[in-house]
Symmetry: C2
Subunit: 330 residues, 2 copies
């Protein structure tokens, strides 16, 4: 049985299912014959977009509600076989400007979700998406799951707390939860229109508009980039691998790439130029230098390997956004 | 100049200042001639009690308000020289029963406090009290500040997030904050009437009522107990030691003691008996085994050493609670 076949006929909830990664999960599962519900608050600027389900929307039950609405959440959680928790605020800058909103969306909502599982659906399998941002500035590379956590922004702090809730509810209440720490994910349906959601989105947006790119520092900073299809596969694998429950895992990519390499590929795809400029002071404060993680623990547990290399992933992304330019760029 | 003299004429805010440790801080500073404001929400069962300021209340400005009330908090934070942040929910059991309330009181309130400092009083010196509970079950002893954090209850998760906010606001906005991880603190004005606030309080309460004590497991579990006067001194030292800003420190005691030793002292002081019984299943889940921490980092930075040993501290505690039996026991 293939991986997606394991979800055929299953009831699946995707929180944040109108967002970038959530919508890709929902589409894959709808195509696999799962009974998919997406829950999304459509908080402005957070990335949720009904258009992300275009073509599958008639096969997906879409609920626009805030996870902090207990009645809605408890009702929706009941009876689900799998819950993929993608809802959240992911902008580091926004978390520093509006720390309370970040806390509400990332922590209050997550507590409500694990409580809903505890009381209304303790059989559910729950996959939480966290971020490599919890590690802060790397003390060694590649960063393994044993690396100390030292978040450098409010978002990292709150995402870390959200991880802990999941693992605690596994330990104390037997909720079958898995935590994946995502690194730089990019690809179709990423919110690139505003520049809130990471470097990959910013560069894609500008390159697609034909604008030249500016790299801060030296451009030699290393990152591990995951194409969204690989991340979706990781989430599904985590859900169906009992050895993963109660544990946390890095995702990652091998090889990693410098930001210069990333821009160089976009140069070829979009015909733009790029230059290296000094770090603005406010960005330097939250810069973490090189980052690449080890995903060996997850590979050993599930056999996962990213399949799409950066050149191919960016090619597919550029092609997608050019096809849907009217929606994602204007 | 003695330590307390450094606070003479200074404006000091104590959040949670009607609680156990907060009221002891407020009393000490009022006696030292500081201009003390206490802010306390008097949330039922959280330990706040107007009686804790008996004898100094005319020299302390008491504001009963919830820290989540932005207008009140921002107004009160303005112009303070020092802020001791003692407000919070500290019951591990309550945090598991009401995780959202724990989040609100420990995280939302703390974000509002550091934001108030950022915008309305960036000169303030801010001392945060955290807990050794953030470490979870010790992986090595004594536990140093380098020990991995792995909270075993919702309270530990939320207190850890609150620490990170303080350290982040130091790093990014130059708020002069210090984090102290307290261990088992006991002494006068501890809330012992209900059994929510740790083993020391539970045993003191029962012994003072003449009830026999039950120890779970073997009774040989080790703990480091700090008498509240030593903790107050640590908080004041942290506040006036610039080397501490932006850092976190364990408190602790040397020697540590087994729970049996603790009960044996109470046996002598109160004439009660004690016995060892098997662990109830629900308590075993959140039990952390032996715990004692190293406070060498803090001793090196400030010269702090706990002065009151367990026998003397319990003697003074029992004497205090006997004098104020009508209030604290009934």
């Amino acid at each position: 049985m293939s991986l997606v076949e394991k979800f055929q006929g299953k009831r699946v909830l995707v929180t944040g299912g109108l967002g970038f990664i959530g919508s890709n999960v929902a589409r894959t599962l709808a195509d696999a014959g799962a009974e998919v519900t997406v829950l999304d608050a459509l908080i402005p600027q957070h990335g949720g977009d009904l258009y992300n389900l275009e073509g599958v929307s008639e096969r997906v039950r879409t609920v626009v509600a805030d996870m902090r609405d207990d009645a809605a959440l408890n009702h929706i959680v009941k009876g689900q076989d799998f819950i993929f928790h993608l809802a959240g605020q992911v902008s580091h800058g926004d978390s520093m400007r509006e720390p309370e909103l970040d806390l509400a969306v990332n922590c209050t909502a997550t507590i409500k979700l694990v409580e809903a599982c505890r009381y209304h659906n303790p059989q559910a399998i729950l996959v939480n998406t966290s971020t490599r941002q919890v590690y802060g500035r790397p003390q060694f590379l590649p960063v393994t799951e044993e690396h100390p956590v030292e978040p450098v922004d409010v978002n990292g702090i709150n995402k870390l707390a959200a991880e802990y809730y999941h693992l605690l509810y596994h330990r104390v209440y037997d909720v079958r939860s898995v935590v994946l720490r995502l690194t730089n994910t990019y690809g179709p349906r990423q919110q690139i229109k505003n520049e809130r959601q990471g470097m990959a989105g910013v560069f894609l947006n500008r390159a697609l508009r034909g604008q030249d790119l500016k790299l801060f520092g030296t451009g030699l900073q290393l990152r591990d980039f995951n194409y969204v299809d690989d991340v979706v596969e990781a989430l599904l694998l985590a859900a169906v691998t009992p050895d993963c429950y109660g544990k946390l895992f890095n995702l990652g990519a091998d090889p990693c790439h410098s930001l210069l390499e990333f821009c160089s590929i976009l140069q070829q795809l979009c015909g733009i130029r790029y230059e290296v400029v000094p770090f603005p002071a406010d960005r330097k404060l939250i810069d973490i230098g090189d980052y690449y993680g080890s995903f060996q623990r997850f590979a050993a547990a599930t056999g996962w390997q990213p399949r799409v290399d950066l050149a191919e992933g960016l090619r597919q992304s550029v092609e997608f956004f050019k096809q849907h330019r009217d929606h994602y760029l204007t």
